[in-house]
């Protein structure tokens, strides 16, 4: 059975995957970039299901430096930079996984605009998105990217 790395800041994606995707995938959970990178080494995974927004994560567990982001992108507004890091954390983690050589298909449960999704694909290769927690649509998206 293929393994699906589920990356999120809570447990809703993992619970969903164990309920509705367990006939297709063994679920491997990760709650941060550090855990995701470790899990891709052992036990490894064939595909990824990623939450975009990490609203509940501690800032210390996030990828990215809020001070640097504030200076570079948000005219020194650190609170806005920290919020941006949380809101985009899933794509930042995917970038770290790609940088580490993990090119497996990745699907977000998010309603990305078409242009944004095209940009993600240009940056990160095999990336898909489904707008809702639709088990059949997620399986189809992962199969298309395999």
């Amino acid at each position: 059975m293929e393994r699906l790395l589920v990356i999120e800041d809570g447990d809703e994606y993992e619970e969903f995957a164990r309920l509705f995707l367990a006939d297709r995938y063994e679920v491997v959970p990760a709650r941060s970039a550090t855990e995701a990178l470790a899990a891709m080494e052992t036990p490894g995974a064939d595909a990824m299901l990623i939450d975009l927004r990490f609203e509940r994560a501690d800032e210390a567990d996030l990828l990215g430096d809020a001070d640097e982001m504030a200076a570079r992108l948000f005219a020194g507004d650190r609170a806005r930079a920290a919020r941006w890091l949380k809101e985009q954390q899933g794509t930042l983690i995917l970038g770290a996984l790609r940088d580490a050589g993990h090119a497996q298909p990745a699907v977000f449960v998010h309603d990305f605009p078409a242009r944004r999704l095209a940009n993600l694909r240009a940056l990160y290769g095999r990336v898909g998105a489904v707008p809702s927690f639709d088990a059949q649509a997620i399986v189809r998206a992962l199969e298309r990217l395999a």
Binding site: G10, E12, E15, F16, L19, F20, L52, R53, E55, R56, V109, H110, D111, P113, P131, S132, F133, D134, A135
Partner: protein
């Protein structure tokens, strides 16, 4: 928070999670007993514990009147009104709550897509 940010948060924080189990309930036959507590969790407590209808009202305050906001509000009222029966696992109530949850999600997703355009 700008209106576009509020709409995006509504679609993500409320719409996506309120419909998480509802969207995957088998279309025919009784709602499986094992799914009822998970359905209850989605419909009456968002990740973090806040009630979806309360989160909705907090975020919707940043938005102007809009029919999609009203549709979502009506769906959440329906879900709240069905709470006792859904918690009791009554099949008809669970089905109606699932339908309302999907309506909430669709309305909020449409709103968010328009506001970011």
């Amino acid at each position: 928070m700008t209106p576009a940010e509020a709409a995006a948060a509504l679609a993500h924080d409320v719409g996506k999670y309120v419909a998480r189990i509802a969207r995957n309930v088998p279309p025919h036959g009784p709602v499986p007993d094992a799914l009822v507590p998970l359905l209850v969790a989605d419909l009456y407590a968002l990740p973090g514990g806040e009630r979806p209808s309360a989160r909705f009202e907090a975020l919707a305050a940043a938005l102007a009147e809009d029919p999609r906001v009203e549709r979502a509000r009506a769906g959440l009222w329906t879900i709240d009104a069905l709470e006792a029966a859904v918690r009791a696992g009554e099949d008809d109530a669970c089905r109606r709550a699932c339908a309302a949850a999907l309506e909430v999600e669709a309305s909020l997703r449409e709103l968010a897509a328009e506001r970011r355009a």
